[in-house]
């Protein structure tokens, strides 16, 4: 490095001025952005307000957003300020010989660590409180709703459709799904072939459907309306077409629907295997019928 170089003299006053500018710009922008995030976008954030679990998820997205947006904006403010002010000129001057700053570094460690630990704690609290936050909890969930009055809905995924079984309605199986309002629902999700995933977007429910495994998720309905059910785990060629709609309806509408379905399906229900948490598909594959697990030949029926 024999060539002559230009080493400017250092002034710490100037540094403080830059720091004050950056913080001031950031503070104003961040406050405005957070207000917009919470009050303008907040109420429209996914997955909506149809269930307790969906509301919990929406609240989480809002909280994480009002924390993330200022971080993002701080780094942006710094970045744009740096690009504007800390440019090399035609003099090809060298920068200052600064290899670290104990106070800045310590502040950064402490702030990022506290943010992260708060988020982990908050996430855990939100996960446990609304009974698993609508996610699949496996066969024996430890976070359950406080009530025992649960509507049981079994979701059976197979290539490439969902069907639903209702043990409290004679074990009938339906191709459509209706749910009563103001009800705690227990989804028991299983598969007859490959891994699928039951994603009821507006209910804030998502649970993988694994063959030979019962994946339980809870939701408490709070509003009526239509919800989308999609398969959310790649399951073969018609994965993209594996969806349907369900409805949350009033309790009396639900009851009359379920009872009429039960009566309508009675003759078919008799032919079905006994209700179980998992089933073994027949050797004929998808659409070829299934048997309770441990009874691959269906002889115990």
């Amino acid at each position: 490095m024999a060539k002559t170089m230009n080493f400017p003299t250092y002034s710490s006053e100037e540094g403080k001025k830059h720091a004050r500018n950056i913080v001031a710009i950031w503070f104003v922008v961040a406050v405005i952005a957070d207000l917009i995030v919470w009050f303008v976008y907040g109420p429209h954030m996914p997955p909506g307000t149809m269930t307790d679990q969906a509301r919990g998820a929406q609240f989480d997205i809002k909280v994480v957003s009002v924390m993330a947006v200022p971080v993002l904006l701080f780094l942006w403010t710094f970045g744009f300020y740096a690009v504007a002010k800390f440019r090399g000129g035609k003099d090809r001057a060298e920068g200052y010989y600064i290899k670290g700053n104990v106070k800045t570094q310590a502040a950064w460690y402490i702030i990022t660590a506290s943010l992260v630990l708060f988020l982990a704690g908050f996430g855990t609290y939100e996960l446990v409180l609304p009974a698993g936050a609508g996610g699949g909890e496996g066969p024996s969930p430890i976070w359950r709703p406080s009530t025992n009055k649960l509507l049981q809905v079994q979701v059976i995924a197979q290539q490439w459709r969902f069907t639903y079984r209702w043990p409290q309605f004679g074990g009938m199986e339906t191709t459509s799904i209706n749910l009563p309002i103001n009800t705690e629902i227990q989804f028991n999700v299983t598969s007859l072939d490959v891994i699928h995933d039951f994603w009821a977007y507006q209910l804030g429910v998502k649970a993988d459907a694994n063959p030979d495994s019962n994946n339980v998720a809870f939701a408490k309905t709070l509003e009526t309306g239509r919800f989308t059910v999609r398969c959310d785990e790649l399951c073969g060629i018609w994965h993209g077409a594996m969806f349907n709609y369900g409805h949350v309806v009033s309790q009396s509408q639900f009851l009359s629907w379920a009872q009429s379905m039960e009566a309508q399906n009675a003759s078919v229900t008799k032919l079905l295997p006994k209700y179980a948490t998992t089933y073994t598909p027949s050797y004929l594959g998808a659409g070829g019928g299934y048997y309770p697990a441990g009874d691959p030949n269906g002889t115990l029926n």
Binding site: F7, G88, G100, A113, L119, A133, N210, C231, D232
Partner: protein, 646 residues
């Protein structure tokens, strides 16, 4: 440390051939490799038919996985034989002492099609290999976006669409991003640490030659019906698939071996071949990036290979380890795969950070801020990456009580990645930034990774994960980390290091056109995908809700512009390398890095004598800083004078 173990050069010892054996034998190269490989494939396929042709499942399905897999195994062995890679180990094993002199240097382009022990040639082989894989997978991405222009009209059927999706994902993840250590680690690390060679040149060279074999085999899936399992290959879907899945698992396995070989070499080189005075506290950040990646690969890739072996057995020998209801479990593959896959996707970030922290001080004209924090950040990411894999499986129904733990470990990773922002901001603080093309890409890395990192917090929060898991939100998130961070870092490194690799300084003007189109098109492509995910669009679907059409069309058009921008890069890059050849002054960026002090072309053996390291590489702005090392220049002019070393 760094005992000189380099072999004497082959000057005046004609007659030895490539691969260190076969005196006066045929000249072996990639073409003989392909030839012998094809013969090997035919032999293996014949053998598989002889063994398993009568099995009930083969007769019943008309599909013989055993034959395909044996074909791939013998094909790869043949390819290696035909390249001469196996000469040395076979001679050793049979008690023949192989010639100790280094294989004769082939001249011109041909040396890039050979098995060679020169770390710089291997680096360049890797560079072009990686670009070929990247552009192939990029074309597949264009195909995906073409299909998604319309929610219901199809360019391809759903089967072809998923084949394309699977090939794109697998090609990008295993072929392109996993080899990123290759072009930069192999070429630069010995130069940076002041070594004349790498620790295991044969492993290093073999590591590269696994990749073209894997590339051919992976692409061969396309005319075998493809595989519709995506790059994650979840069982039992992957067991159900046709023989295309065998190509997936075999090529992925080959890449696993490649990663292990190159990681072993990189670790051993950095630990043992540092020049005197190259303390850990002076190690360049790019070398830190490489060694942390290498460690992570060494510990995680064997798990992937085991998983792939299990899948191969399930498919060919009808074991049922991944089958529910027959003693196996569909969770097993998910665990094995992500136990590899998660370290993998974080370790893709590390070479990028190595590149960025390496280049930033040069253009900021300041020392790297908080060097130790930066190193701690890399080590922290590497270590924590082993404790997060089940966050891919939050909704799987597996071990739900562990979710708070995996949420915590995942969010903890924000701390070491945050270190890198501290380092970046500290280095920029009151600096004298010069915005040459490599620096623009470095700034873009910080910009893009911010989205990747912050959305990572959403994805790792279990209640939010219920909505975003498996959706386009996750897809956008990891494209920001992998393409936005790693691919932009790779571009920064390409623009930065072409003067050293090829003696060519790429045009600033063309580079800026490439940068701005790529940067804007990239963000325009992937930002809307976050919205699509939040609006309920699952991944890997060939049809989607009508209301999402406008957003999808916006994304597709942006993706095409991104593709054009990258095509523009490819054309201008090759044009400048091969035709216009704009000559670069030595060390055009005024870098202090040791790698820049040897001059172009870097001589065979890198240094005339082992340098003594006097100072760290980032002492910018200190008028009294010592040069990074004491060495006599051995560039083009002096190489002939100072050829001998001992």
């Amino acid at each position: 440390m760094a005992i000189d173990m380099s072999q004497t050069t082959g000057v005046g010892r004609g007659g030895s051939s490539e691969g260190g054996g076969l005196k006066k034998g045929p000249k072996l190269n990639a073409f003989t490799g392909v030839l012998v490989g094809a013969l090997g494939y035919l032999f293996g396929h014949w053998m598989g038919n002889a063994i398993a042709g009568g099995y009930q499942q083969v007769v019943g399905s008309g599909q013989n996985d055993t034959a395909i897999l044996l074909g791939f195994i013998f094909g790869t062995i043949g390819f290696f034989l035909g390249l001469g890679i196996l000469n040395y180990p076979l001679q050793k094993m049979t008690g023949i002492e192989p010639p100790t002199d280094e294989p004769e240097q082939a001249q011109g382009m041909m040396k890039y099609f050979r098995y060679t022990l020169d770390n710089k040639v291997v680096g360049i082989q890797y560079l072009f290999g990686m670009l070929v894989y990247f552009f192939t997978a990029g074309l597949l991405a264009m195909a995906i976006r073409t299909q998604l222009l319309s929610p219901t009209n199809h360019i391809w059927g759903p089967a072809t669409y998923l084949e394309v999706v699977g090939e794109h994902g697998t090609m990008m993840m295993m072929m392109m991003t996993s080899v990123v250590m290759g072009p930069f680690g192999n070429f630069l690390v010995p130069l940076m640490i002041g070594s004349k060679r790498v620790a295991f040149p044969r492993l290093e060279a073999a590591a590269f030659w696994f990749t073209p074999a894997a590339y051919i085999i992976l692409l061969s899936a396309l005319w075998q019906g493809g595989f519709q399992s995506g790059w994650t290959g979840y069982a039992p879907l992957s067991i159900q698939q046709g023989v295309g899945q065998d190509a997936y698992l075999f090529s992925f396995g080959l890449l696993g071996f490649s990663m292990i070989c190159s990681a072993l070499n990189m670790t051993a080189t950095i630990i043992n071949y540092r020049a005197p005075g190259m303390r850990w506290s002076r190690l360049p950040m790019l070398a830190w990036g490489m060694i942390t990646v290498a460690f992570t690969m060494l510990l995680s890739v064997p798990v992937l290979i085991v998983g792939l072996y299990v899948m191969a057995l399930d498919r060919s020998a009808q074991t049922s380890m991944l089958y529910a209801g027959h003693g196996g479990s569909s969770f097993l593959w998910e665990n094995l795969f992500w136990f590899f896959g998660h370290p993998e996707v974080y370790l893709l970030a590390l070479p990028g950070f190595g590149v960025v922290t390496e280049i930033l001080p040069v253009f900021a004209r300041k020392p790297l801020f908080a060097y130790k924090t930066s190193v701690a950040g890399m080590i922290g990411v590497a270590v924590l990456s082993f404790f997060v894999w089940q966050h891919h499986l939050f909704q799987s129904g597996m071990n739900p009580d562990m979710r708070p733990l995996f949420m915590l470990t995942t969010e903890l990773i924000s701390i070491p990645t945050g270190f890198l922002y501290l380092v970046g901001m500290g280095t920029m603080w009151r600096s004298r930034m010069r915005f040459d093309v490599p620096m623009l890409f470095v700034m873009a890395v910080f910009f893009n990774f911010l989205f990747g990192g912050i959305t990572g917090v959403y994805v790792s929060d279990v209640p939010i994960n219920v909505t975003v898991h498996g959706s386009y939100f996750v897809m956008a998130h990891f494209h920001y980390t992998i393409m936005g961070q790693l691919m932009f870092s790779v571009m920064a490194a390409i623009y930065y290091y072409t003067p050293l690799y090829f003696g060519i300084k790429l045009s600033e003007k063309l580079g800026k056109i490439h940068f701005w189109t790529m940067f804007i098109a990239f963000n325009s492509t992937f930002l809307p995908l976050f919205a699509l995910g939040l609006l309920g669009m699952p991944r890997r679907v060939f049809e989607y809700a009508q209301r999402l059409q406008h957003l999808n069309q916006w994304v597709s058009v942006s993706a095409f512009i991104l593709g054009l921008s990258l095509a523009f890069f490819a054309v201008t890059f090759v044009w400048q390398l091969a035709v216009s050849k704009p000559k670069s002054p030595p060390n055009p960026w005024e870098s202090r890095g040791l790698e820049w002090q040897v001059g172009y072309p870097v001589p065979h053996g890198n240094f005339a004598k082992i340098p003594v390291i006097l100072a760290g590489p980032y002492e910018y702005g200190d008028p009294n800083a010592l040069p990074v090392a004491e060495l006599s220049a051995v560039g083009a002019h002096s190489a002939s004078v100072s050829g001998g070393d001992e």
